[in-house]
C-alpha cells in the first residue's frame, strides 16, 4: 500500500519536481490575498488589544487573584507545542531515515518556526512590564545585575530561544539549495534576493560535502531539543508547588502532547496547501496517514497520562492534589476538562479504522478537534490549579476577557501571516529531498 503511493506519485524527473513545487510561488491567487488580508486584520486587532493592555495594565485581561496566569500562558504552551512537530519530523525522522518525512517536513518545519515565533510573543504579552523584558537576557550592565538561572522561566528563555535559533538555522540550511532553485526560476531583483538568501548556492561537491555533514549535526542537535523544549516548558508547571502541576509526569506528558498537537496541526495546515497547490504528487494520503498514526500514538500516551494523574492523586493521598483533580472533573469548569478528554482521547479513536484514517475529510476534522482539545488541555492545567489553590479563602474562577480573546485571535493572525508568506515565497516541499526520492537519471550501466 505505502509503496504504491510512494512509487505511483513521485515525480518522473528532477525538473518536474522543481516545476511542481515552485509553481505556487509564481501566481498569487485572489484566495491567497484574501487570506493574507484577513491574517493582517486579525494581527492588527490583536495589536490593538495589546495596546490597550499596555496602556491600562494587565487588568484588562481576566487574570486575577489567585489565577495569575491565563490565556497567554495557555496559548504560549499551545504554540510551543505546535512548534514541536516540525522539528520532530525534520530532525528525528531524518535521523531514523523515515522516508515519508520528505514530503511534509518543509511545511512542518516552517510551521515550527512560525509557531515558536508566535509563542515567543506570549511571554511579552504576558509580562506586566513588557518594557523591561530585556532584563531576561544576560548582558553586562552598569547595575551589575544578572538573572536567576534557578528559575524555570529563565530555563524557558534559554530553551525557547535556543530552540528557535537552532530550528531557524536548521530550516534555513535546509532551504539553501531550494532557494537556489527558486533563484534560477526567477528574474531581476527577485532573483538577486533569492541568490543572496541561497548564499549563492551552486551545488558544488565541496558544498554538498560539508552541507550534508552539518545538516546531520543540526538534526542531531535538534532531536534532543524536541524532547527538551517542552520538558522545560512543562517544568514551568512541574517545578511549581501548585497542586495539579507539581508532578514528574509532566515532561513526557507535555512532549507527547506537543507532538500530538503538532502533528495534528501539520495535517490542518498541509492538507489545504496540498489541495490548493496541487501537490498531491508529493504530499498524499500516505503522509497524512502517517501523521495520523503519530497522533494516535501520542494520543494514547496522553490518555494514559491523564489517567495516571488521577492515579497519582489518589495514591499520593495528597488532599490538594485530590481536590484539584476532583474539581477539574466535576467543578464549575468541568466542561473544559470534558472538551479536553473528548478532543484528545476520544475523537482521535476514529483513526484506528483505516478507511477513516485515509479519508481526508475525517482527517481534517479530527485534526481540528485535536487542536482545540490541546488548547483546552493547557487551559485545564493552567487555570484550574490556580483557581483552586492551596488556600480556599482565595478561590475564584478565571475566564478570559475580550482583550485576551483578541490577542488570541491576533496571535493566530500573526502565525497565519507568516505561514501565508512562507507558502508564497518559499518552496513548501523540500525540492532537493524530493529529488533524492526520484530515480536518478542513468544511462544504463549503473543501478540506483
Amino acid at each position: 500500500m505505502e509503496d504504491k503511493y510512494r512509487e505511483a506519485n513521485r515525480p518522473a524527473t528532477y525538473a518536474a519536481a522543481n516545476r511542481d513545487i515552485i509553481r505556487p510561488l509564481l501566481t498569487p491567487t485572489a484566495m491567497w490575498f484574501g487570506a493574507f488580508v484577513l491574517a493582517i486584520a486579525a494581527m492588527l486587532y490583536g495589536g490593538y488589544c495589546w495596546y490597550l493592555q499596555i496602556t491600562w495594565g494587565m487588568g484588562v485581561a481576566g487574570i486575577k487573584h489567585p489565577t495569575f496566569w491565563g490565556v497567554y500562558i495557555v496559548t504560549f504552551v499551545f504554540w510551543v507545542g505546535i512548534g514541536h512537530a516540525g522539528t520532530l519530523i525534520s530532525a528525528i525522522l531524518y535521523l531514523v531515515r523515515s522516508r515519508w518525512r520528505t514530503g511534509v517536513y518543509r511545511a512542518s518545519e516552517a510551521m515550527t518556526i512560525f509557531a515558536v515565533m508566535t509563542a515567543l510573543l506570549f511571554p511579552a504579552l504576558h509580562l506586566g512590564r513588557v518594557w523591561q523584558m530585556y532584563w531576561f537576557f544576560p548582558y553586562p550592565n552598569q547595575r551589575e545585575l544578572w538573572m536567576n538561572f534557578k528559575s524555570p522561566l529563565m530555563w524557558d528563555v534559554f530553551a525557547i530561544s535556543t530552540y528557535f535559533t537552532i530550528s531557524s538555522v536548521f530550516f534555513y540550511v535546509g532551504l539553501v539549495p531550494d532557494m537556489a532553485i527558486v533563484r534560477d526560476h526567477s528574474t531581476g531583483l527577485v532573483k538577486r534576493i533569492y541568490n543572496v538568501l541561497a548564499l549563492g548556492w551552486r551545488g558544488t561537491h565541496k558544498q554538498w560535502h560539508s552541507y550534508m555533514a552539518a545538516y546531520g549535526f543540526f538534526a542531531a542537535f535538534a532531536a534532543p531539543l524536541v524532547l527538551s523544549v517542552h520538558s522545560v516548558v512543562s517544568w514551568d508547571f512541574a517545578m511549581a508547588n501548585t497542586a495539579g502541576w507539581h508532578s514528574t509526569l509532566f515532561p513526557p506528558y507535555f512532549v507527547a502532547g506537543a507532538i500530538f498537537s503538532g502533528c495534528a496541526m501539520v495535517i490542518t495546515l498541509l492538507m489545504p496547501m496540498t489541495i490548493l497547490f496541487k501537490w498531491e504528487d508529493y504530499v498524499n494520503t500516505w503522509h497524512f496517514e502517517n501523521l495520523a498514526k503519530m497522533c494516535l500514538l501520542t494520543s494514547g500516551i496522553l490518555t494514559y497520562s491523564y489517567a495516571m494523574e488521577y492515579f497519582i492523586a489518589w495514591y499520593s493521598q495528597n488532599p490538594y492534589e485530590q481536590y484539584i483533580f476532583w474539581w477539574r472533573t466535576f467543578g464549575e469548569q468541568w466542561w473544559i476538562f470534558a472538551t479536553m478528554v473528548f478532543c484528545n482521547c476520544i475523537a482521535p479513536l476514529v483513526w484506528y479504522y483505516r478507511p477513516w484514517r485515509q479519508n481526508w475529510t475525517i482527517l481534517f476534522i479530527v485534526s481540528i478537534f485535536v487542536n482545540i482539545g490541546m488548547w483546552f488541555e493547557r487551559l485545564n492545567i493552567v487555570a484550574s490549579s490556580t483557581s483552586r489553590s492551596f488556600d480556599p479563602s482565595t478561590w475564584d474562577l478565571y475566564w478570559p476577557t475580550a482583550v485576551e480573546w483578541g490577542i488570541l485571535i491576533g496571535s493566530a493572525g500573526w502565525f497565519s501571516f507568516w505561514f501565508l508568506l512562507f507558502a508564497k515565497t518559499l518552496p513548501g516541499v523540500a525540492i532537493t529531498e524530493i529529488k533524492e526520492m526520484v530515480v536518478p537519471p542513468v544511462k544504463g550501466s549503473l543501478e540506483d
Binding site: G59, H65, F390, P392
Partner: protein
C-alpha cells in the same frame, strides 16, 4: 510640643515640607526623561521636626467613651500614619477608627472652605460673622442656642455647655444611651460603668460589639488577656446571647440564639438565678425579683437549661456580663442594660470586673433628649442650632421629624468638616479642624485623661472648633455661667470632681469663661484649675508628651441607688410577620460615619468578605426554605420603608432573623459613600423604650425577591476544606498543661508534621538543601488565633502604612484587591450540633516570609529573594511582572498591580515616603514593614547597637502595632529569648501548610475551644459543677445544651430561688 508657640508651629508646617516632589518641568532640549524635582526647605524649621525623620505626637482619636490615645506619625509636614501609644495605661494599639479618621483627614471630599446653604463657598471671616450674628439674633430674641453633637468629654464640653447655657445634647446613633439611662436608674448616676474583662473567666455579652470598639477599644484588649492561656492556663469562655453573631459575636464559645426582643427577659431571669445561686440578698435582689426563667425561655426560644447554664457559669467563676449595645437595643434596651448591670452586682463582680470607679462620666444623652430638642425646635424656642460632627438627618428614622424641626430654626450652623446629609440643612458650614489638627482633651474615666494636640497644621486653613466658639462667644457677648451646674440631666458632670481621686485636687474649676484667646489656652486653663502641684507648665508639657494624665483608679463598687426601679422583664418587638429585622453596627463603618473612607469600604467585611455594599445575612436554612440563593436581591419592607439588599448566607444568624448592617446608603456623604448599599435606618421608625433610649431593634420585616444583586466578596470558600489552616486546641487540656514552652511544639493542634523553627536544625539533615543561614536576625511573626477577633485592624493598618491602593468594587469583583493582609474567616461548627457556629476562627494571612520560599526560586530576574535577615524580599523596581511567584505562593499572599492607581488629592499626602508606590505590572506583598525594620536598625546603629533588642521589635510592624488584642507579635527567631521564639514552642504552635516545607517565618497559635473535649467523662452532660475555687481548672460541661435552645435538658435548677411576681411598675 511643649513650648512651641502654636502660631509659629502652624506657620512652619503650613509652609510645606522639606522634600516635597513638586514640579515636573522638563529641560528644554528634552534629553532627559525624568522630571527635575524641587526641594523646598522650611522657611523656619520647627524644632521638633527633622526632615526625613518621623516625629510622633501623642494625641487621642475618637471622642467621649470611644477616645483612645495614639501617636500621630508626622513626617515632613503631614500626618502619615497613626501608631500605638505604648507608654499609656491604655492598650498600646491603633483602633481602626483612628486609621479611618486618618483617611478622613485627607479625604478629597473634605470642605476646603466654609460654605453657605446650597454649597456656596465663603470665607472664614464671613462664616464667623454669620455665626456671631446667628447667636446674637437668638439671644436677642430670647431664644436658646443649642448644640447637637457627638459624645464629648473634657474641656470642649465645658465650653459648649457655657456657650449654649447647657443646651448641649451629646448623642450618637448606636451609642450608649441605654447604658447611661440604665446606670442612672440603677446606680443613680448617668455614667457608663467600667468593665475589666481581663479579670473575667466567663464573659457574657447580650450583643454589645465590644470587640469592634463598643465601650472603647480597651475592652478588646482586655478580652484577649482573658483569653490568654499564659495567664493561668485558663481560657476565658465567651457566651453570646443574641440573635446574630456579628464580628464580636463570632468569637463566642457559646451562642444562645435568643429571639430578638427577649434579651431583657433572659438577662433578668439570669440575674434572678444568679442571685439565687449566690444567695445574694442585697438591695438588688428586689430589682431582679421579676425574673422568670420559664417565661424567658418561652419568649427567647432558649431552653430553661440554657438560661440556667449561663447563670451557673456566672456564679462558678469570675465573670462579667456586657449589655446589648446597638444589637440589643430593643424597646427594652434600658431594661436589658439594667439587668446586665444587676447580674454583675448580684454575682459579686462589682469591684472586680465591673464598677463605677472607672466609669465614663461625660455627658451621654439619649434619644429622649434629642426628641426634647426636636420638640423645642418645633416649638420655636431654639434660636440657633449648632451641629457638631454628627449626622442625625441620616441616622435618625425619618419619623423623628428632625429635618422638619431643623427647618424651623432661624439659624443652623454645622461644624462638620465633611459633607453629610445633615449639613445640607445648615445655614452655614464651618468646617473646623479635625482630630489631627486640633487641641482638646478627653476624660476616659476619673483616673485617666487624654490630651489631644495638633499633629500637623490644619488643611485648607481650617480653624479649631474651640477657637471659633470662643471668639464667637466673645463677639456675641455671651456670659459664661461660671461653674454653675448645667441644668437637669448632666449628673455625670457633677460627679466628675469627686471622682478625681486623691491626687488631683477636687477643686471646682474656677470661672474660665470665654477669656482664653485660643482653645489651647482654654484646655490649659481647665487643666490648671484642677492641678494642685507646682510648676504647672512643665507638668503640662510632660502630659502633652505622654498624651495622657493617669493615676491608678480602682474599678470601684457599684452601689445600687435607693430609688432604683424594679425590672419588669418587658418583651419587646411586636408586629406582623415571622421574620425579625436585625440591624447591627458595622465594625468598620459603624453608624455610617466612616462610610466615605475608602479603607472602610474596601477592607473586606470580617464576616462575609463583602466590600462596597450592603447585604442581608440570611441563615442558610432559611434561604433553603425560602428558595433563595446567594446574591438574590431582596426587598425588605417595614411600615417605615423599604430597602433592597442582596442575600448572603450566614450561619451566625437565627433562622427567623434577617440581619443588615448600618452605615451605608448615604445620599450626600461624599464620592465614596454616596449610593453604596442601602440605609437600614429607612426600615426603622423612631421608637424609644420607656426610658427614652432609641430602639434600633424594633421591627419585623416583610420581603420579596426582586432580582439579582451584585455582591462582591473576597472570600472564596466558607471553610478551609479540611486543610487544617486553623486547627483547634482543646481549652480544657490547655487549662491543665498551660501554654508554656512545650517539649513537643504543636502537639495540641493535631498536626503532626511541623517543621517549626525549633526543629529546623534537626531537620536540616534530611532537607535536600538544608536550612538557610541567618547570622543576626531571622524576622519572625506569631499570630495567636485564640486572640484574633477578626476586627480587621491589621488589614487597615497595612493599607495606611504601605501605600496600598484602593481599587473599588468592580475591581475587587475582578479579583484585583490589593490588601496585603487578608483575614480568612472560617465558620467552625459544633460537632454535636451541625450548623451552630461556635468554633469560628479568623486567620490573618500575610506573606509568610518562607526560608524556602516557593516564590523566590521562580523569579527570573531575582526581584524576590531571601534576605540575610530572613525576609522574603521583593524589589518592586526590578519586577517585570511574570506573576510566577504569585502562582507559586501557596498562601496567595502576593498582590499584583493590574493597573497604575492614582491617589486623588489630597490622599497622596498620606502616602508613606519610606515605601514606594508601585506602578502597574509589578508584584507586591507584605514585607514585614521592612521600612520600619530598616529605620529601627539604623536608629540603634546610631547608638552603636548592632542588634535591635526584642522589646523594640515586638510591635514594630503596622499590623502588630494596630492589633487591638496583641494577637500579632514580631521578633527575631534567632534570639532564643525573644517572644516569638518562645511562641513557636507552644503546644498550640503550627504553621500553615507546613507540609509543603516552606519553612515559613510566621507561626500561628491555635484557637482554644471548649467543643473538642476528647476526654470521655467530659462529654456527658453537665452536672459536674465546681465551686469557685475549682472553677479555673475545670469547665462545667455546659456545652451539651449550651446553645440553640432546642432541647432543654433538666439542669440543676435554682429551684429554691425566689419566684416573686414580676413587678410591673409604673415604668410601663
Amino acid at each position: 510640643m511643649a513650648g512651641l508657640n502654636r502660631r509659629d508651629f502652624l506657620k512652619a508646617l503650613g509652609i510645606g515640607s522639606s522634600a516635597s516632589v513638586m514640579a515636573a518641568c522638563r529641560l528644554d532640549d528634552n534629553r532627559y526623561y525624568t522630571p527635575i524635582e524641587q526641594v523646598l526647605p522650611y522657611v523656619v524649621k520647627p524644632e521638633q521636626i527633622t526632615p526625613g525623620t518621623p516625629t510622633f505626637f501623642a494625641t487621642s482619636v475618637g471622642t467621649g467613651p470611644n477616645a483612645h490615645t495614639v501617636l500621630a506619625r508626622h513626617r515632613d509636614g503631614r500626618v502619615i500614619n497613626v501608631g500605638a501609644n505604648r507608654r499609656s495605661p491604655m492598650a498600646g494599639i491603633v483602633p481602626t477608627d483612628a486609621l479611618f479618621e486618618l483617611q478622613r483627614h485627607f479625604s478629597p471630599d473634605r470642605y476646603q472652605a466654609p460654605a453657605k446653604k446650597g454649597g456656596e463657598a465663603t470665607d472664614w471671616d464671613a462664616a464667623r460673622s454669620e455665626l456671631v450674628a446667628g447667636i446674637k439674633a437668638a439671644k436677642s430674641g430670647g431664644k436658646k442656642v443649642a448644640w447637637l453633637g457627638p459624645y464629648a468629654s473634657g474641656s470642649i464640653v465645658k465650653l459648649l455647655d457655657d456657650v449654649t447655657d447647657g443646651n448641649a445634647v451629646y448623642w450618637e446613633p448606636l451609642g450608649y444611651e441605654a447604658d447611661a439611662l440604665a446606670a442612672e436608674k440603677v446606680f443613680g448616676k448617668r455614667v457608663l460603668p467600667g468593665y475589666d474583662l481581663a479579670k473575667a473567666k466567663y464573659i457574657v455579652s447580650f450583643g454589645a460589639d465590644f470587640l469592634s470598639g463598643w465601650g472603647g477599644w480597651e475592652l478588646a484588649n482586655q478580652y484577649a488577656k482573658a483569653k490568654d492561656p499564659n495567664e493561668g492556663g485558663f481560657v476565658a469562655r465567651f457566651a453570646l446571647v443574641s440573635p446574630y453573631q456579628d464580628q464580636t459575636g463570632a468569637n463566642a464559645d457559646d451562642w444562645y440564639q435568643c429571639k430578638p426582643g427577649a434579651q431583657a427577659q433572659v438577662a433578668l431571669a439570669v440575674a434572678k438565678l444568679v442571685a439565687a445561686k449566690k444567695g445574694y440578698n442585697g438591695p438588688a435582689a428586689r430589682l431582679v425579683a421579676a425574673g422568670d426563667p420559664a417565661a424567658a425561655a418561652a419568649a427567647s426560644g432558649l431552653g430553661e437549661g440554657d438560661i440556667d447554664a449561663i447563670a451557673a457559669q456566672i456564679v462558678s467563676r469570675d465573670s462579667v456580663v456586657l449589655p446589648g449595645g446597638a444589637s440589643g437595643a430593643t424597646t427594652a434596651a434600658t431594661e436589658l442594660a439594667m439587668a446586665c448591670f444587676l447580674i454583675n452586682v448580684v454575682s459579686g463582680m462589682a469591684g472586680k470586673t465591673f464598677g463605677l470607679g472607672t466609669a465614663y462620666t461625660g455627658p451621654v444623652h439619649s434619644y429622649g433628649d434629642v426628641k426634647a430638642l426636636i420638640d423645642a425646635m418645633n416649638a420655636g424656642s431654639i434660636g440657633a442650632l449648632l451641629l457638631g460632627d454628627v449626622n442625625p438627618a441620616y441616622a435618625l428614622p425619618a419619623d423623628s421629624g428632625f429635618a422638619e424641626a431643623v427647618g424651623k430654626v432661624p439659624f443652623v450652623a454645622s461644624f462638620s468638616s465633611h459633607p453629610d446629609e445633615t449639613n445640607a440643612l445648615a445655614n452655614v458650614i464651618l468646617p473646623v479642624a479635625d482630630v489631627f489638627e486640633d487641641w482638646g482633651d478627653e476624660e476616659v474615666h476619673a483616673g485617666l485623661r487624654l490630651l489631644r494636640q495638633p499633629a500637623q497644621s490644619p488643611m485648607y486653613g481650617a480653624l479649631s472648633l474651640g477657637d471659633v466658639l470662643l471668639a464667637a462667644a466673645r463677639d456675641a457677648g455671651l456670659q459664661a455661667a461660671a461653674a454653675a451646674p448645667v441644668e437637669g440631666e448632666v449628673e455625670g458632670e457633677a460627679t466628675e470632681a469627686p471622682a478625681e481621686g486623691e491626687e488631683a485636687a477636687p477643686a471646682v474649676a474656677g470661672p474660665i469663661g470665654f477669656t482664653p484667646a485660643t482653645f489651647r489656652e482654654y484646655v490649659k486653663a481647665v487643666w490648671k484649675a484642677e492641678y494642685s502641684g507646682a510648676n504647672f507648665d512643665q507638668w503640662f508639657s510632660e502630659r502633652l508628651a505622654d498624651g495622657f494624665m493617669h493615676h491608678d483608679t480602682a474599678i470601684g463598687a457599684a452601689p445600687i441607688s435607693a430609688g432604683a426601679p424594679a425590672l419588669a422583664g418587658t418583651a419587646a418587638i411586636e408586629g406582623e410577620g415571622e421574620y425579625f429585622l436585625h440591624a447591627y453596627p458595622h465594625p468598620f463603618r459603624k453608624d455610617g460615619r466612616f462610610a466615605n473612607q475608602p479603607w472602610a469600604q474596601e477592607t473586606p467585611d470580617p464576616m462575609t468578605g463583602m466590600v462596597w455594599d450592603s447585604w442581608v445575612c440570611v441563615n442558610p436554612k432559611t434561604a433553603e426554605r425560602m428558595g433563595w440563593s446567594r446574591n438574590d436581591l431582596l426587598e425588605l419592607k417595614t411600615a417605615a420603608g423599604s430597602i433592597q439588599v442582596g442575600v448572603e448566607f450566614y450561619p451566625g444568624v437565627r433562622e427567623d432573623v434577617l440581619a443588615v448592617a448600618f452605615g451605608q446608603g448615604h445620599a450626600a456623604n461624599g464620592r465614596y459613600a454616596n449610593g453604596v448599599g442601602a440605609n437600614v435606618v429607612s426600615l426603622l421608625s423612631a421608637k424609644a423604650d420607656s426610658f427614652g433610649a432609641l430602639a434600633w431593634q424594633q421591627a419585623k420585616v416583610a420581603f420579596n425577591k426582586v432580582g439579582t444583586a451584585e455582591l462582591v466578596t473576597t472570600i472564596g470558600s466558607d471553610t478551609d476544606q479540611m486543610r487544617m489552616m486553623a486547627p483547634i486546641a482543646d481549652a480544657d487540656t490547655l487549662a491543665k498543661v498551660g501554654d508554656a514552652e512545650s517539649a513537643h511544639p504543636g502537639e495540641m493542634t493535631g498536626i503532626h508534621h511541623l517543621p517549626l523553627d525549633a526543629r529546623l536544625h534537626e531537620r536540616g539533615a534530611v532537607d535536600f538543601y538544608g536550612m538557610t543561614d541567618h547570622p543576626t536576625y531571622r524576622w519572625g511573626m506569631t499570630v495567636d488565633i485564640n486572640a484574633c477577633t477578626g476586627c480587621g485592624a491589621c488589614s487597615v493598618a497595612c493599607y495606611a502604612e504601605n501605600n496600598l491602593p484602593v481599587v473599588g468594587k468592580a475591581k475587587v469583583r475582578d479579583g484585583r484587591e490589593m490588601g496585603w493582609i487578608r483575614v480568612n474567616r472560617y465558620w467552625g461548627y459544633d460537632e454535636a450540633k451541625p450548623g451552630l457556629p461556635v468554633e469560628n476562627r479568623f486567620l490573618p494571612m500575610m506573606c509568610q516570609q518562607c526560608a524556602h520560599a516557593p516564590c523566590e526560586s521562580v523569579c527570573p530576574v531575582l526581584a524576590t529573594y531571601h534576605t540575610i535577615d530572613g525576609l522574603n524580599a521583593m524589589v518592586y523596581n526590578r519586577c517585570v511582572g511574570t506573576r510566577y511567584c504569585a502562582n507559586n505562593c501557596p498562601y496567595i499572599a502576593r498582590r499584583f498591580n493590574y493597573h497604575s492607581y492614582v491617589w486623588p488629592e489630597p490622599f497622596n499626602l498620606q502616602l508613606n515616603p519610606d515605601v514606594v508606590t508601585r506602578t502597574m505590572g509589578v508584584m507586591e506583598k507584605c514585607t514585614f514593614c521592612v521600612q520600619r525594620l530598616r529605620s529601627t536598625k539604623s536608629a540603634y546603629r546610631d547608638q552603636g547597637i548592632d542588634r535591635v533588642p526584642d522589646e523594640a521589635l515586638e510591635q514594630i510592624t503596622a499590623c502588630a502595632e494596630a492589633c487591638p488584642t496583641d494577637a500579632i507579635s514580631f521578633g527575631n527567631l534567632v534570639d532564643p529569648e525573644s517572644g516569638v521564639t518562645k511562641h513557636t514552642k507552644s503546644g498550640r504552635a503550627y504553621q500553615v501548610f507546613a507540609e509543603l516545607n516552606t519553612m515559613s517565618a510566621v507561626t500561628y497559635l491555635a484557637k482554644a475551644s471548649y467543643h473538642r473535649a476528647e476526654d470521655p467523662h467530659h462529654g456527658g452532660g453537665h452536672g459536674e459543677e465546681h465551686g469557685e475555687a475549682g472553677g479555673e481548672h475545670h469547665e462545667p460541661e455546659a456545652h451539651g445544651d449550651a446553645h440553640g435552645g432546642e432541647h432543654a435538658e433538666p439542669a440543676p435548677k435554682a429551684e429554691g430561688a425566689h419566684h416573686e411576681e414580676p413587678a410591673h411598675g409604673a415604668d410601663h
